[in-house]
């Protein structure tokens, strides 16, 4: 079985994130649906990564949780603010995604939503603020720092990269791409680390050499934000 991440090639003919400069609730809802499909496709892979470090169910938990969330978000949610949708998504993930991932991702989205409250759509700057709040939420709830071999190791670099892109004046798509690239690098960088959080903590030296499943799913979520043609 291939351990490489499958390319999202043409299977979903989604409306790409348009050249419009704002992420609306509708865009986010589409994104959640895409995430659900991607997570299903990579479920076995994530489970395998988790089997080496934890209890082997991260893929299943994320696929089920995001699938439920995608189904629960309705078209009439599109009228909401982006931040509100993110917060609601967070609440659903806390309840619907099993394992530590549910709590952590749920916290991340809730904090992100709270950070961008009042804005109907998200521009690149808003995205940077949201990602930063998400990363900090995870750091606080999970009591983790960079290098602990967790979701944070992909999310923090992504948030920093998006903030830097905004500083350089890139547009939304450019900022997202920088974020995805950084998330990928962060994900790969978890391989040589010794786990200091979560179940993998008990493995000590044995956790080296295995990619963290949480950082992997985080990268998948980031990449799913990209317009189809650019993936």
């Amino acid at each position: 079985m291939s351990t490489r991440i499958a390319g999202d090639d043409g299977a979903d003919h989604e409306t790409a994130i348009a050249a419009s400069t704002l992420l609306t609730a509708s865009d986010l809802r589409d994104w959640v649906s895409r995430c659900a499909r991607i997570l299903v496709r990579h479920r076995a892979y994530l489970d395998r990564l988790d089997a080496r470090l934890g209890d082997g169910d991260h893929g299943e938990n994320m696929a089920v949780g995001f699938g439920d969330a995608a189904r629960a978000l309705q078209p009439d949610d599109d009228g909401r603010e982006a931040g509100e949708l993110l917060r609601r998504l967070g609440e659903m993930l806390v309840a619907g995604v099993g394992g530590a991932g549910g709590s952590l991702y749920g916290t991340a989205f809730m904090e992100a939503g709270i950070a961008v409250v009042g804005r109907p759509g998200l521009g690149p700057g808003d995205l940077a603020v949201a990602l930063d709040a998400a990363a900090e939420g995870i750091a606080r709830r999970g009591r983790c720092r960079g290098g602990d071999k967790t979701i944070y190791d992909a999310l923090r670099p992504a948030a920093d990269a998006v903030a830097a892109a905004v500083g350089e004046g890139l547009d939304l798509e450019g900022a997202i791409r920088r974020g995805a690239v950084a998330a990928r690098a962060g994900m790969l960088a978890t391989r040589p680390l010794i786990a200091r959080r979560g179940l993998a903590l008990r493995l000590g030296e044995r956790s080296r050499g295995h990619q963290d499943p949480g950082a992997t799913s985080c990268f998948l979520l980031m990449r799913a934000m990209l317009p189809e043609r650019a993936r």
Binding site: E81, G99, A100, S103, R141, R202
Partner: protein
Amino acid sequence: MTGSRPATPSPDAAPITAQERRRIFEDAQRQADTVFAQYQLSQLVALGGRLGEMATSVIGELVRVTDATAGAIWLGGQGEDALRLCATEPDALVYPDTVPVPDRFATAAVAEAWVRPSGWHGVTLEERREIGEPGPASRVVGFIALRPPEGASLPPDRVRLLALVRHELAIAFRAAQLRETLAREQALLAAILDGASDGIVAVDEARRVVRVNRAAWSLLGGRRHLAAADTCRELLGCGPAGGTEADGLRCGARCGFEAALDGPAGIVESEMRLVHPDGTEIPVAASFSAMAGREPGAVVVLRDLRAERAADELRASFLAAVSHELRTPLALIAGYVDSLLGLDLDAAAQRRSVERIGSAAIRLNGLVDELLDLTQLEQASMGLRRARVDVATLVAEVTRELAESPGMPAVHAAVPDDLPPVDVDAPRIGHVLTNLVDNARKYGGDGAVTITARRSRTTVVVTVSDSGPGIQEDERGLVFDRFYRGRAARESEARGSGLGLYVCRRLVEAHGGRIWVEPEPGRSAISFSIPHARHAPASARPRARQSR
């Protein structure tokens, strides 16, 4: 919460200030943090694993989650109240300031007393007993202590976290202890069972086989063809033997398991024959007994009777041979006495008769000597009286004695003078030589018997050869066994008990040497070796032969 449609405030309530809203929010965050921390601890202990590893990861997690500066966990041992230090965070070896905690607490109460003045926060891990079970209401499994930051105490929500998780931790650690105990007990049981020389088979109430030890598999003829055997009947190959199939698994009135399970307590003994797939039959003595304990079951101990039976057969044939040997000279004596008393013999005839009686008496004497030697050989201590002896001298003496015995063939000795001395019981080795010469006389044809000797690297080798047909190749290993008489011996007219070469072997081996038939075809010779005096083993007691 921010972002949702604000609830319509009741007309009397004061509006919530931003500050209060913030406080409510942070409270909620802390609660969620506590829940999450509890969840992570739960996940950690649910993975099980070895006790030591679990203790290390739990105390590490607790220290992190409570923002403590150090932590330690003590766990109870088996069957004692004392708690021993199991893990600390930080690891004392890594950090320069070792965590100054006691290695051991005699009881949880002592631990709690230590914690109070030390400023550490302590939590006792207890396992509750079921109501009605004998023993104290709860058992102390361990004790956890956490050191708050200097001058502070643990935050209340963290204290609450500890209270929430302590029962779960107690259960998890107890389970880990029980797992380790179980593994040890299982290993011990397996070692004991597999070390037993008798076969052991255990069945449960329904006659299903629950345990078979290694010796039993060997008696049963191997595991492979019995891999599917589920019940004792399939395993031991019992027939219905009086019972009916309709009775399910009951095998009939003569089944030892049935008697043990249903009858009064005690051991039921019987004999069985176990049949191997290749047709080999093994007689075994079976002792059946019910298993003590909570669940009913029965055990059978199977003792291989083959050695016992073989020994019995040998003994019987030995007695027969001995009786025969004794009877012959006795008959001779009786005959000559009769003729002396009943016939009117002249002086010469009388003299001859008396001489013959004398020879028969000598022969009887020799046999009794051999029997006595045999008895001694069977006992543990042979009591060799060793002295330094020159082989050439010994052989010369023996040769001289033999020359004086009637009926013995001519013996030529060709022994070099420069052989290294040996440490031997001279009369005993003399006896070996005599037996070998006697053997040569009986079965070695009419030619002369020669005794030679040579030195090897560590021994002196003495060889007795004759001009007879020798011992067949397939019998060369067997002739030194007790009561074994070779083909040639059996076919000849000579009478023997089969003991002569056996006695030689035991005596030679008691001196640390070996005895063998010379292998060259056409040659009829037996050799034995004795270690050089300085090579002799420190103690040359023969090992006691097992009685069965």
